[in-house]
Symmetry: C2
Subunit: 160 residues, 2 copies
């Protein structure tokens, strides 16, 4: 299977990965959450080639995850900002960071810590149930066929 076919699969993980499933894109978004907005800053922060960076930024804009906002006129220059579609990736990045803090620590402790202004504590992200609020244990979650998968299966039937 080629990579660009992946976005048509009836799987939300696969569809999301069709945008983020490459070496650099999630690092670009990490930078966005830190407040980085400009081409050169991304490039220096991440160290990927300018070529790739231009690509990735364009793709993120096309997908509506970032938007270009002009910040000066002469010469015309844009900065890249998270849209709400982009901001909603926060849990993905925080979960990834938490996992890295736990399992890829080299003994020095977490590179970054997080303060929750609401409760004034150092915190980590916790995965909770939207209904009962309890922390989620993977064993207590049962995946079930949903409408999107049924529709997909029906279409395949019809095509026969």
């Amino acid at each position: 299977m080629k990579w660009d076919e992946i976005q048509e699969l009836p799987c939300s993980v696969a569809r999301a990965l069709s945008i983020f499933g490459d070496r650099w894109t999630l690092l670009i978004l990490r930078d966005c959450f830190i407040g980085i907005k400009r081409f050169d800053k991304f490039q220096k922060s991440i160290g990927l080639s300018r070529h790739r960076l231009a690509d990735r930024l364009t793709k993120l804009v096309e997908h509506g995850v970032l938007r270009k906002v002009p910040y000066q006129e002469k010469p015309l220059r844009y900065e890249y900002k998270l849209t709400s579609k982009g901001v909603e990736l926060y849990p993905v990045l925080m979960s990834l960071a938490k996992w890295g803090d736990t399992w890829m620590d080299n003994g020095d402790g977490p590179p970054i810590e997080y303060m929750h202004t609401k409760c004034q504590h150092k915190m980590t992200i916790q995965a909770c149930c939207s209904e009962c609020g309890e922390e989620i244990n993977p064993k207590e979650v049962i995946p079930q066929v949903g409408p999107g998968l049924r529709a997909y299966a029906d279409n395949i039937e019809k095509a026969k």
Copy 2:
């Protein structure tokens, strides 16, 4: 910067992505959470080449995310199971799935829905504060330099 240098950066997202930041690895792990364990099943489910799949499984085993467990003797065959290091990626995958459900829906609704056996409701994952339990709003979280980053900076100083 080359990709394999990324794991040394003082950033937990970057370190995690040094393992998962490619096209297929997170899809393999998605399959693990669905209960897929064997080479051929992965291959059919995901559609990546056998060559790549072998690579990726080996890498995941090397990093302790999966482990090989023999399931028959003649001929000797192994299946791949999540370690606890692997299971802890659950929030990453669920957040990604939730994002895909929200933003990459093609109008048919989510392909998969989730039932929380504990409360008996259809649920989605929610990012909460480990300290106060409230749902996290990215604007209410302040990143701060942690011990891992200080140690890294100190080492660079010493090297001068």
